[in-house]
Subunit: 393 residues, 2 copies
């Protein structure tokens, strides 16, 4: 086990009716003026907007609003939010939505105190000293942003999509009511599940030894998410199954499952290129890339993938032919994604050969200067990335 520093302070207020606690919770922490940050019309159509604003008003909280967050949230709206927070003296940003609204809120939160364009933080990994507190009412379990300190923003001017993480960006509290997930379209459910599973995979697949505890936690969380995801895709009003998937998504990305382990993050890196150039859903891109990545890298640590196939995918065959088991495990993961209605090929996402080499070179940095290979279990240069892209064309 490696040395580590674990810090996951986000308070999770979970269960039926909890969106009505938004106002009392903001008041409990002593904030009086907040920014309500959200996406499009879905929270207005569902009535969630009315419930949250009623709760804020009843608690005597003043708020200003900024809607319009889109999937793969844009830098321009972040700039708008920073100006609004400064002008209005906002003390906390309450994001109501999925990962996009929350990531956008985090960008605004640090931009308020950042001296310069906040894009520099993403682009040049500039350290931040301070950020406004962020809280959330989660409507899509997927990104784990409700407890993580991570944010991903797309600079639509340069077509770059970069992530940034800081303990200062961990939300103060997050409200999660699985009932709010009942009306999600099936493709969003599936994309979310692929995203949270990938958050576990990126931590799980490692060359670090002596990680029994987090191995087991990763395996339990993956099995729980997969088992219950098939239930919610069949019946999106299954509260109990959503509760497992929803809380699973939080645990997947609050940091715990990766403690003491070298992590990977190659699939996330490769997917960010797809989303930046083609605006595909992050989860859909991950569902395509992950089995391809596994097939490309497993020979570098076959026993890690044997463990995955046996303990997560439940493959029961003779260990004397481990590659059989590994390939079966990867195939079962592909079958699971298919059952969820997720794509298996880049072509299904409208991605052809055209930009594959460019994206591979952007991904490893080779397009812009010296190459920085990605990944942990196996280091991948742009040729490797291109080979993986092509393997799932």
């Amino acid at each position: 086990m490696l040395n580590f520093d674990f810090y996951a302070p986000a308070r999770i207020v979970f269960g039926r009716g909890t969106q009505k606690q938004a106002g009392p919770l903001v008041r409990e922490y002593g904030f009086k003026k907040i920014l309500l940050h959200y996406g499009g019309g879905s929270i207005k159509k569902s009535g969630l907007y009315d419930e949250v604003t009623a709760s804020l008003k009843a608690a005597g909280i003043n708020f200003v609003e900024l809607g319009g967050v889109k999937p793969n949230p844009r830098l321009s709206l972040v700039h708008e939010g920073i100006a609004l927070c400064k002008k209005e003296g906002v003390e906390l940003i309450l994001a109501v939505g999925g990962g996009s609204a929350i990531d956008s809120a985090k960008a605004i939160a640090m931009g308020v105190y950042y001296d310069g364009d906040v894009w520099e933080v993403y682009d040049q990994h500039k350290p931040i000293k301070k950020a406004l507190p962020v809280a959330t009412v989660l409507t899509i379990p997927a990104a784990g942003s409700e407890s993580s300190g991570d944010t991903v923003i797309t600079n639509e001017g340069t077509q770059r999509k970069y992530g940034y993480g800081s303990p200062k960006l961990r939300p103060l509290f997050s409200i999660m009511n699985p009932e709010l997930f009942f009306t999600l379209p099936k493709n969003q459910i599936a994309n979310g599940v692929a995203d949270m599973m990938s958050h576990i995979f990126e931590r799980y697949f490692t060359n670090t030894l002596h990680t029994d505890l987090t191995d087991g936690l990763c395996e339990s969380a993956l099995k729980t998410i997969m088992g219950n995801a098939l239930k919610v895709i069949k019946d999106p009003r299954d509260y109990d199954a959503w509760a497992e998937v929803g809380f699973g998504g939080t645990v997947a990305h609050n940091g715990l499952l990766g403690m003491g382990r070298a992590q990977d993050w190659a699939c996330h890196g490769m997917e960010h290129e797809l989303s930046a150039y083609y605006d595909v859903a992050h989860g859909a891109g991950l569902a395509v890339l992950t089995p391809g990545w596994m097939a490309y890298v497993y020979k570098d640590n076959p026993n890690m993938f044997l463990q995955f196939a046996v303990k997560v995918m439940g493959v029961e065959k003779s260990f004397r032919e481990p590659e059989e088991i590994i390939r079966e495990g990867i195939a079962r993961l592909g079958d699971f994604f298919k059952k969820m209605g997720l794509p298996a090929r880049l072509s299904e996402l409208g991605i052809g050969e055209e930009k594959l080499e460019l994206m591979a070179k952007k991904c490893s940095g080779a397009a812009d200067g010296p190459e920085h290979p990605i990944g942990g279990l196996k280091k991948l240069g742009w040729q490797d990335i291109l080979a993986i892209y092509r393997s799932v064309k």
Copy 2:
């Protein structure tokens, strides 16, 4: 799954050499005057005291000291600590030790701001408004107090041992270096393991349905702790095994594993009586009581215990005779405790029949007024408690 409110903000700084970060960490949070709180001579003998105080001095932190914490920490020392903190203007309490030092530090931390005798908080469950921040350097993995908001104090005047919990008592940060556990006596190792396992059992055994995620996390954590505990009891210098047991002890009690589940806590309640009247080690008392409790209550929820026997204890027999499996599971737990050198009978702890009825009545409150049955999976009145005590005489 039940609604829940999860909050585990304690930062865990984990790994080799981390005790040397004590000073820099205190400085990072901006504190200048702290109380160093610890037990007896072991941290002086081991050199840990020197390392921590050198680190504090190098970081420019002023500190006053209060040693002398004993197992089952006493109220009188807490009173002394409160007076000292007030007099010296202490801003943070750094506990260096195991659960006793940390629990004592938490009592002092809230006593500083409590208007009256802090024992009222334990005795009458008075709410607290504020507490000094507490940080820890953990020397015994067991109580989970390094991340929990819980504290247990013994009033030596009245022989009462009560617990209290508040989110305000969650430590700011805890330093855990498994190397510090190398010199623990084997009985302390075993007691600690029994304690952390019990923290999981108290959450795991439930009548709540739809708890796949936390079921799996509990089972993984239990298996990891048991597997690695047998290694450290054989070789107390096995860093990798200690890392699993140590971090396992934190995860066992930071709250996560109990979220959304009705919890039990009958064994802890029954054990607190043993410790209050006989001053036995908490873990040793739990090792005696837990299998007795299981045998007494399993008929109220046999499938829960079937799951335990199969998934945690690895019993492989026909499900068509579930009681066989359950009894085998409980027996294997007893065997595990025996291998760890833990007692199986109250007589081994020097406890005879004399006070069993008194302790049973104190435990359920029947000795002092109307009875408040304990436990979650099965409600236990004093006769039940007495029957369990007698079953493990």
